[in-house]
């Protein structure tokens, strides 16, 4: 309407000028006897009100938000004024006899293009009325007829048949034009609306594809089942553009679905209870693989909790199956607060989301099952080792008492045997302690101590001091460097744990380095991480053994040759603890030249 107003104004300049030019041409050049003054007046009037409209248009635009309603009114007013001007023009150029009557067709086309069909017919009637009234007034001599003998047989306006016939053809021409323009215009507008609708649908389809992709990313970004489900329902609700979304998972019995995650639902609604397949025809249908639209929750007969849904303000629902490799394992549902919200297209889209999400969710479920199994194993080891620890301790107590001679003097051979037995139980005790550490580290039961901020440089200094004597005995240089760091070297760990980690690494390094060798610890930090390197010039690890060196019970063959005893759990404990604190460990080694373990910890703030 805004642009059409401008269009109308720009045309009208020409119309006004045209009237002036034609009047001049007719009166001065062709010497037609026309009332020049009124005609010039009409031309000037057209230009004048056009100027007023132009000013109004600019003012409305300058106000910022162009008001569609104001522009509509303006257009109607312009057309009405045009009609009056046109009627005057006709009158002063000979009334019914004027050749200008045909120009009304332009006005009808303009009205038909800009206004509704009804308004077009209304204006057509106005035009016919104006011309008819002019003719009638002239006929009855109430408005003096302007005679233009050069153009028409004078006096025709007084012949009723001529007047009525002329008027009839004028009117029908206008009405037919109005009809044609209005019909064409309606078609055009419909087409335009279709184009808009189509592009809107394309935009929606694109945005859905985008969200489908984002959904997949969100769901695949973690393996933790609860997180996967949470992210999935949240992004699904967003993708569907609805208030809420939930996912229910089939339990082990396969008879009921319990809530896995929900977004946008109240606590009360979520605690309404499980979906029991026997009592829930809709859930049964979905678990049979169908996607179901519930157009109106109030009248649906296949819901288990219709009253709860109504109380929650849910009016319509869309439910799709989550399909695993073998069979459906859950139900994905979108909730809308409008009735009849979901279309067949929505149903297909939700089914696609469900299919895609199923993979991520199944993976997370498998991961959870594995984690639980692993946790169970760790708990088992923890319990068993606890039970083993006590009797081994008692055996050692008894053997020591015997060895100390409190049961009477021991013969040499007896002493030798008791010593051997004690030696073996000592080794057993070490194994049990290591196993306990490992199992405790892996189990949620274990590592009960709260993590604290540990100054890594202090811990290194302390451990290095502890190993100075054994190192000196082997003539090994044991030293540590800290890259000039005025920044903190704090990590999140436990004091005991970090001593254990460093103790294990340093004792290994000293153990497997030949006399006159060297063991070095180096500390440095970057913005986000702290690096601790423990390097030795020891026997090294065979290439094929490097990937296994931190595995439980694994010992490299050359290490076994040097040190017969050893549980093969030390490095597993180190790795386990470091990872538990959010760090990681890497190993580099060259057989016969040495080994470097690098621990990388995230920094923590003071």
């Amino acid at each position: 309407m805004v642009s059409s107003t401008a269009w109308l104004i720009s045309i009208r300049w020409w119309a006004g000028l045209g009237v002036l030019a034609l009047t001049w041409l007719a009166t001065m050049v062709l010497a037609i006897n026309l009332p020049a003054l009124p005609l010039y007046g009409i031309g000037l009037a057209i230009l004048a009100y056009n100027a007023v409209f132009e000013v109004m248009r600019r003012r409305l635009l300058a106000e910022g938000l162009p008001h569609a309603w104001a522009f509509g009114q303006m257009t109607r007013l312009q057309i009405a004024l045009d009609y009056v001007a046109m009627a005057a023009l006709i009158h002063f150029s000979g009334g019914l006899e004027s050749p200008a009557t045909i120009y009304f067709i332009f006005h009808i086309i303009i009205a038909g293009t800009l206004l509704s069909p009804r308004a077009t017919y209304l204006y057509t009637t106005l035009a016919v009325g104006l011309v008819g009234t002019t003719a009638a007034l002239e006929y009855f001599g109430l408005w003096p007829h302007v005679r233009v003998p050069e153009l028409a047989n004078s006096g025709l306006y007084q012949k009723p048949l001529y007047a009525l016939g002329n008027l009839f053809f004028f009117a029908t021409a206008l009405y037919v034009t109005a009809y044609l323009v209005a019909t064409l215009n309606v078609r055009l507008r419909k087409r335009a609306a279709e184009v808009i609708e189509l592009s809107e649908r394309l935009r929606r389809a694109y945005s859905r594809l985008q969200t489908l992709y984002e959904n997949a990313q969100a769901a695949n970004s973690t393996l933790e089942l609860a997180k996967v489900l949470d992210r999935f329902v949240q992004s699904t609700a967003r993708a569907m553009g609805v208030r809420a979304c939930s996912i229910c998972l089939l339990d082990e019995t396969g008879t009921r679905l319990n809530l896995g995650a929900a977004f946008g639902l109240s606590e009360r609604y979520m605690s309404k209870g499980d979906l029991i397949l026997e009592a829930n025809p809709l859930a049964r249908e979905v678990m049979a693989g169908r996607t179901i639209i519930t157009a109106d929750a109030r009248t649906a007969s296949d819901l288990q909790y219709p009253a709860d849904a109504v109380a929650e303000g849910i009016c319509s629902m869309l439910s799709a199956p989550m399909r695993g490799k073998e069979k459906p394992f859950g139900l994905l549902r979108a909730y809308s607060t409008e009735r009849n919200h979901f279309s067949q297209e929505d149903a297909e889209f939700l089914a696609a989301i469900a299919t895609q999400g199923s993979i991520a969710i199944e993976n997370a479920m498998a991961f959870q099952a594995l984690s639980q199994l692993n946790e169970g194993k760790s708990k088992f080891v923890l319990t068993v080792t606890h039970e083993l620890r006590s009797p081994v301790g008692v055996i050692r107590s008894l053997l020591r008492t015997m060895l100390s001679g409190y049961t009477g003097p021991l013969a040499d051979q007896q002493r030798d045997m008791v010593e051997r037995a004690l030696h073996r139980t000592d080794a057993l005790q070490n194994l049990i302690d290591d196993l306990l550490d490992l199992a405790a580290g892996k189990s949620e039961l274990g590592i009960p101590e709260e993590r604290v901020k540990v100054r890594l440089d202090q811990a290194v200094e302390y451990v290095v001091k502890q190993f100075q004597i054994p190192a000196q005995e082997k003539q090994i240089r044991l030293e540590w460097h800290c890259e000039p760091a005025n920044r903190s070297l704090l990590i999140s760990a436990t004091h005991e744990g970090i001593e254990r980690v460093l103790g294990n690494l340093v004792s290994n390094a000293v153990k497997y380095t030949r006399p006159e060798g060297c063991v070095q610890l180096r500390l440095r930090r970057t913005d986000s991480e702290i690096y601790l390197q423990v390097s030795d010039t020891g026997i090294g690890i065979p290439e094929e053994a490097v990937p296994h060196i931190c595995e439980e019970f694994y010992r490299a063959p050359n290490a076994k040759a040097i040190e017969k005893e050893g549980t093969g759990l030390g490095l597993a404990i180190v790795k386990n603890l470091v990872e538990h604190w959010g760090g990681r460990i890497t190993v580099e080694s060259k057989l016969g030249q040495g080994t470097t373990f690098t621990l990388i910890f995230p920094t923590v703030r003071d």
């Binding site: 008894l398 020591r400 008492t401």
Partner: protein, 136 residues
């Protein structure tokens, strides 16, 4: 020095046996209670000069309960007379066990900890030391 009475409160026969031998060899008179209840009863019966107390018996903290009962600061306690009897506590608590305690006068009134397995020499040394320090 000899003939001082030592009460072992421990539910493990073998551990008690392993301690009894060196203690008797050193001339002490050794008594034993096989549970917290029996131990507390024996305290009143025997009036020991020193108590060796196991931490874990029927429950993981039974030993702590016994030491708290004996060291109860109220004068009206039926064990008020035994408040100053030195207590050596036997622990085999591994560092990853959820319960960890260090000797702390306020929370755990014992005189020293003895680590299992028993080293006879270390046991005798601790016993001697705490009997000498025993307040009169």
């Amino acid at each position: 020095m000899a003939n001082e009475k030592i009460l072992i409160i421990d539910d493990d026969d073998d551990v008690a046996y392993a301690m009894r031998l060196p203690l008797q060899a050193a001339g002490y008179v050794v008594y034993r209670g096989a549970s917290s209840e029996e131990g507390l009863r024996m305290v009143k019966q025997v009036n020991p000069d020193l108590i060796i107390l196991d931490v874990m018996m029927d429950t993981t903290t039974a030993g702590f309960q016994v030491s708290l009962t004996l060291r109860n600061s109220s004068a009206s306690s039926e064990y008020a007379a035994y408040r100053y009897v030195p207590i050596l506590m036997l622990t085999a608590i591994h560092k990853t066990t959820p319960l960890r305690f260090g000797p702390n006068e306020e929370y755990l009134p014992v005189n020293a900890f003895l680590e299992k397995p028993i080293q006879p020499e270390a046991l005798l040394e601790q016993v001697r030391k705490h009997l000498e320090e025993k307040p009169v």
